[in-house]
């Protein structure tokens, strides 16, 4: 027909594959190191009597799940992990909320304060964890020194199986706070200052303003922070190495992710199926909380209108 009658509706082959060329490098990485492992772990978790060396397995079924659910170490791992989440999250969020609220009162030096509060965000768990190990030291640690100052007895934070969980929690709270403060602070800065002005004109005390205005308006952000931190606390693992060089005394700090790691890296022969099954259970937990997070974000948009992305 005419010279140009090709494009727009039916673009030439070159034009049609162009988007995929842009996606290609990204896709290779995602396919090999994200998509394939997801599928693979899922299948692995159902393969029964899987032998890594031969690649043989006797069939598909729930044997791995049954086996880890009967494994006292797994039950313990779940318990420890939940206990950790239940203690760390409320403290970290409550303390962060206080600090964020104070940081939000336009003080001078806020740049300095931000630097100090947010520094732990960017530092290696290993290096800082080792410092905490030194601070938790039974005989020469500064934490026991402070306890002594208040007339309390020294605690054997790292070696006492009744205390080491609390050392982990203290470190967990400390390291979770910067991120939490940042999110809460940016949530606070999104609150329309007119609400405060109105309340002050009405003569409300600052405590009342905090509980009657700040907290309700901030609650979507607070919940968001709770969920994100819960998901990350479920994965508590790295901290165990610098602090305790492993899962505590007599495996008493055997967390869920440590369990996964141990099954495929710490045992000979490695139990890939059980590791996979445990990972799928972790994923299930995260999925539940992600779903809640999604609902909260929708709620958040409803409260703050459609502006924030």
């Amino acid at each position: 027909m005419n010279l140009y009658a090709k494009n727009l509706k039916n673009p030439p082959f070159k034009k049609r594959i162009e988007p995929f060329l842009y996606l290609l490098p990204f896709t290779i990485g995602v396919a090999i190191f994200t998509l394939y492992p997801i599928v693979n772990v899922f299948i692995l978790s159902f393969k029964e009597n899987y032998r890594h060396l031969t690649g043989k397995y006797s069939g598909f079924g729930f044997a791995n799940y049954r086996s880890i659910l009967k494994d006292p170490y797994f039950i313990q791992a779940i318990q420890i992990t939940f206990k950790y989440v239940l203690i760390v999250i409320p403290f970290a969020v409550a303390l962060s909320l206080m600090i964020a609220n104070l940081l939000n009162q336009k003080t001078k030096l806020s740049g300095l304060f931000q630097t100090m509060y947010f520094l732990p965000l960017i530092t290696s768990v290993t290096a800082v964890g080792l410092t905490w190990k030194y601070m938790f030291n039974y005989r020469s640690g500064i934490i026991n020194f402070i306890l002594n100052l208040f007339g309390l007895n020294s605690v054997n934070w790292l070696q006492d199986p009744n205390a080491n969980f609390w050392a982990l929690c203290i470190y967990g709270i400390w390291s979770m706070m910067p991120f939490t403060i940042i999110l809460l602070l940016s949530g606070l800065q999104n609150i329309d200052p007119r609400y405060y002005t109105a309340a002050k004109v009405d003569g409300a005390s600052s405590l009342r303003i905090f509980f009657r205005i700040t907290v309700p308006l901030l609650s979507p952000t607070i919940w968001l922070v709770v969920i994100i931190n819960t998901i990350s606390a479920f994965k508590v693992f790295n901290e165990l190495f610098p602090l305790f060089a492993g899962p505590g005394i007599g495996h008493n700090l055997y967390t869920l992710v440590y369990y996964i790691y141990h099954q495929f890296r710490g045992l000979t022969p490695p139990k890939y199926g059980r590791a996979a099954a445990a990972a799928i259970i972790l994923f299930g937990l995260i999925l539940i909380f992600t779903r809640i997070q999604f609902l909260i974000q929708r709620w958040n948009r409803e409260i703050h209108g459609e502006k924030s992305k």
């Binding site: 988007p19 995929f20 842009y22 996606l23 490098p25 990204f26 896709t27 990485g29 995602v30 090999i32 190191f33 994200t34 492992p37 997801i38 772990v41 692995l44 303390l95 600090i99 940081l103 009162q105 931000q114 630097t115 100090m116 509060y117 947010f118 732990p120 965000l121 960017i122 530092t123 290696s124 768990v125 290993t126 290096a127 800082v128 080792l130 410092t131 030194y134 601070m135 020469s140 640690g141 500064i142 020194f145 400390w174 991120f179 940042i182 602070l185 940016s186 600052s206 931190n229 190495f241 060089a245 996964i260 790691y261 890296r265 996979a276 990972a279 972790l282 994923f283 992600t290 992305k309």
Partner: protein, 274 residues
Amino acid sequence: MKPFKLSTVLLYLFLILGALIMIFPFYWMITGSFKTADGINAFPPNLIPTEITLKNYRFALETAPFARYFLNSVIAAVASVSICTLTTILAAFAFSRLRFVGRVRIFGMLLAMMMVPFEMVVITNYRTIVQMGIHNKLIALIIPFSSSIFYTYILKNFFDSIPESLYQAARVDGCSNWRYLWRVMVPIAKPSLYTIVLLNTIASWNSFMWPMLATNSKNVRTLPFGLYTFVTEGGARNEIMMAASTIVVLPMIILFLVTRKNIVNGVARGGLKG
């Protein structure tokens, strides 16, 4: 002089106390690294070192190849961050501006995959790198991080906020997609990209679990894992441990002091993995 209100004083006291607790470990790490063996184990502890020594650093550097670890960390960070940034830019552009079959569905699938914890895929990835024969090689610390759904998602959102009419204007002028991406999109997205690069660099520098799985010999270890093995294998003394920790942490502290605003804004906009 302006009279201080009691509440203001309390506010500052509380903030200062909290801030001191937050940075105390860093103070303790760095001062500890300069203390002598007697100084560091003194009880009650010396808040300010009474005697300063550089021996700890010399000892750490002599007993473990920290220079090598440092170099490995730099190589792994630079390589994985640059490759990842490139794949992220290309993919984010495709998802944001180009039209192709299944675009929305594929992107939705990627978002769903973002929920999958790294701790899960690690099981297979460990076997993958073993099978690829790159276990215990530096490249094993780079290619698994060559693309990131998370950063692609962040950058795609930013690209989406650049008005479509800019793209139309350029297309009418005959600008190719490739040229538009590099000449218009990327320069406009510079602040966002900068934040992504920073956060990715920090994540790479601090990563512990993957290097622990993927490497074991000394000459491919990165700093955090090198530090950990140094402490566990050598049973290092506190002052040496603090000196080695300082070596690991210092580059990131400097980076943070220089780029704090970018990092904090990036995190506030959801730029950190949970």
